[in-house]
């Protein structure tokens, strides 16, 4: 990356122009460093006020794409203590990394180990792209590689009434990449939205009462073997953990 160019835009429209010219956005940079991407240029989005936004609106909480995991977790926790997104973000990586990992970077790169994927999908989060006023369902975006490549995420909105629930990450140690993550959003006493990330086919979303979700997940989920664990072991572990999440799903005392 010795010929790497840097840009420091101050508005969303400048960012969009740079993005359309083939340059990549940079917020925290942790994914870029880990993956050693071949890049011609980076534009740092931290000076764009709209991308640092954290606000509570009538329809939910809006998080700008340059907001760090630390700041997002803190803001979300204050709005709704124990919600699935703040719990997930505060368990990711480590304190100094959470101070750098950004919401937008995680959404755009969607690594298999991301702690944000399952809770955003379970809670029905919607994205805004720079230059558009249309809401895009996060789960749709996550599954569409072309959409991810061609759009610059400016913010994500999460409805406050759908972020209560439970979250689980399967790791060997606290500071580890999860093999899979589970998020259960309780929408009513007998209707849940459950997201599983890390399955063989990436992100999966199941909806219904707890029995229906567990039955469908048991029949249709599959995982690749990894780190000495068989596919069957990982699947049985995922289903067991999923069962454990339901009694707590949306409990008021969380």
């Amino acid at each position: 990356m010795n010929d790497l160019k840097w840009f420091f835009p101050e508005s969303g429209s400048e960012c969009l122009n740079l993005f359309n010219d083939g340059f990549q956005p940079h917020a925290g940079g942790t994914f870029l460093i880990k993956t050693s991407l071949k890049l011609s240029g980076l534009f740092d989005i931290n000076s764009v006020a709209d991308y640092k936004i954290l606000k509570n609106t009538d329809t939910g909480i809006v998080l700008g794409s340059a907001v760090s995991y630390t700041d997002a977790a803190s803001f979300l926790h204050a709005a709704s203590p124990g919600n699935i997104i703040s719990v997930a973000l505060s368990q990711a990586a480590s304190t100094p990394l959470r101070n750098r990992i950004s919401i937008g970077g995680s959404i755009a790169s969607s690594p298999k180990w991301s702690d944000i994927t399952a809770p955003l999908a379970a809670s029905g989060a919607v994205l805004r792209f720079e230059g558009s006023s249309e809401d895009i369902d996060y789960a749709v975006y996550s599954a569409d590689r072309k959409m991810r490549k061609n759009n610059l995420v400016s913010s994500v909105s999460v409805p406050l009434d759908s972020i209560k629930g439970s979250y689980y990450r399967f790791t060997f140690t606290g500071f580890d990449y999860p093999t899979f993550t589970l998020a259960v959003s309780k929408r009513s006493d007998d209707f849940f939205v459950c997201a599983v990330n890390g399955a063989r086919d990436g992100l999966r979303v199941f909806k219904g009462n707890s029995d229906a979700v567990i039955a469908e997940a048991s029949q249709t989920l599959s995982f690749n073997s990894e780190r000495g664990m068989s596919e069957d072991y990982i699947l049985s572990r995922a289903i067991s953990e999923l069962r454990r999440l339901f009694p707590k799903g949306g409990a008021d005392d969380e």
């Binding site: 840097w6 304190t95 100094p96």
Partner: protein, 161 residues
């Protein structure tokens, strides 16, 4: 060696201009400019030896592209104190026996500093969470946690006159 960047930073309260390759990490730039108190451990964001405080928050300097920190306010452990005039956190680490080989200590001390600025009286769980990015392969952490508790006491006593 063309396409070098020259950008301004504030390091330990002093304005500095550093010249570096556009893909250089903050760790590399700091060490190349004499800040060898920032230790180079894993270079993958796992060990915390390279932790510095950037604009008030701890970061793994190995995981920060230096250009993205332009204009930033950076603190290394030398900003806190030295052997002749140690900061209460440095005193607490020494007096608690929280230092063995010392390689991880600058990162541990800076993570402690950031924690105590935000929360002057943390409990053990809060300490474990705040120092979860700092690995020590000598002490087993018990003494480090004791040091953070002691540092909190010393700083609160100092604040109370």
């Amino acid at each position: 060696m063309n396409n070098l960047l020259s950008l301004d930073f504030t390091v330990n309260g002093k304005s500095e201009t550093f010249t570096f390759k556009p893909d250089a990490s903050l760790l590399t730039v700091l060490r190349d400019n004499g800040r060898t108190e920032v230790h180079n451990g894993c270079e993958t964001g796992d060990c915390g030896s390279c932790v510095v405080i950037l604009n008030g928050k701890t970061v793994n300097s190995c995981m920060v592209l230096a250009a993205s920190a332009k204009g930033g306010d950076i603190l290394t452990v030398k900003a806190l104190g030295d052997i002749y005039n140690p900061h209460p956190i440095q005193r607490a680490f020494a007096e608690s026996g929280a230092v063995q080989c010392g390689f991880c200590t600058p990162g541990q001390v800076l993570s402690t500093y950031a924690l105590l600025l935000e929360n002057p009286d943390p409990d053990v769980e809060q300490i474990k969470k705040a120092l979860d990015g700092n690995i020590c392969r000598c002490t087993g952490y018990k003494k480090i946690i004791e040091a953070v508790l002691m540092a909190g006491r010393l700083m609160r006593e100092a604040d109370n006159g």
